[in-house]
Subunit: 178 residues, 2 copies
């Protein structure tokens, strides 16, 4: 049910998707849908939490001897979470704070950003990451790259590990020939 809602939200936009549309796609009526969920916003909240929980689980589970390695681990893990929970993360990344639920999601996203920025900062101190770039900017750009997955990655084309390899390679070494 949540999955059906998220699919429609992503396909036509949250606002453009009516509760009737969701009910119809499930073969039930709107009334029945409201018997199982209390509001449209609740569906959104459950979905973005599913995405955020995955991201934070990855962030709390990173391994590596130093910050540079840990950053690479987090980038790779994030790609895998994006791929695995693609539709939920897609919805999350399109949220823009128009309601309490969305504000809460934004707050958690900013918290995640801070973790990444701190990691970049530490990696710079270690000398593992070039120090001629602003850590916050670098963090945003790298995760901009990671997050772009939602725009084009489709689970039936190419496996997540290969993508994760490409993303980490580009993140650390860029396009230039090795």
């Amino acid at each position: 049910m949540l999955a059906a809602a998220v699919r429609l939200f992503n396909a036509h936009g949250y606002d453009a998707t009516s509760m009737f549309d969701i009910a119809e796609s499930l073969g039930i009526t709107k009334s029945t849908l409201y018997h199982h969920v209390s509001s449209k916003e609740q569906l959104l909240g459950m979905a973005v939490d599913r995405a955020l929980d995955g991201l934070f689980a990855a962030a709390n589970d990173i391994s590596g001897n130093n910050a540079t390695q840990r950053l690479e681990t987090l980038i790779r893990a994030s790609v895998l979470v994006l791929a695995e929970r693609l539709e939920f993360v897609t919805l999350l990344l399109r949220v823009h704070g128009n309601s309490e639920v969305e504000q809460h999601a934004l707050t958690r996203r900013r918290e995640f950003d801070r973790i990444v920025t701190d990691l970049v900062k530490q990696a710079q101190k270690e000398g593992g990451v070039r120090d001629d770039v602003d850590p916050a900017t670098a963090a945003r750009l790298i995760f901009g790259m990671v997050n772009s997955l939602i725009e084009w990655y489709r689970p039936d084309r190419g496996n997540p590990e290969t993508i994760a390899d490409t993303v980490t390679a580009l993140s650390f070494h860029g396009l230039k020939t090795a």
Copy 2:
């Protein structure tokens, strides 16, 4: 007038922004607004065209002795267009094909993607770009990075040239210490 509409579209979403909201922000009535534009969708169309025209102007104007240099030029130019037409490009990148106008924007975006992918492919042949990555994937990832600007870049913080430097540096050399 277009600027006011785009600002509201970006702030609250296209669907969530009513023609009344736009009119109110301009100190006129909805009727007057409809005297100047024929529909809400027309406003959207004008805005995304403004963004796409900037991007294609950049793509048609790139210089460089080889594909690798031309790719770098295009990346840099795109960052500057994003910064300059931030609000229009923001709207463009949030469009998802729910109407004729949006479909048309998507088609033009795909055309731009193809230009970039071709450039990466050529650069690989030249040996200027690592050949262990799929060109289409690399193109999408790099421009995912570029496009992430709309999520966090604000014209009053840091100048576009500095950002463009960082983006090209990360694109070609990655995070690793030089």
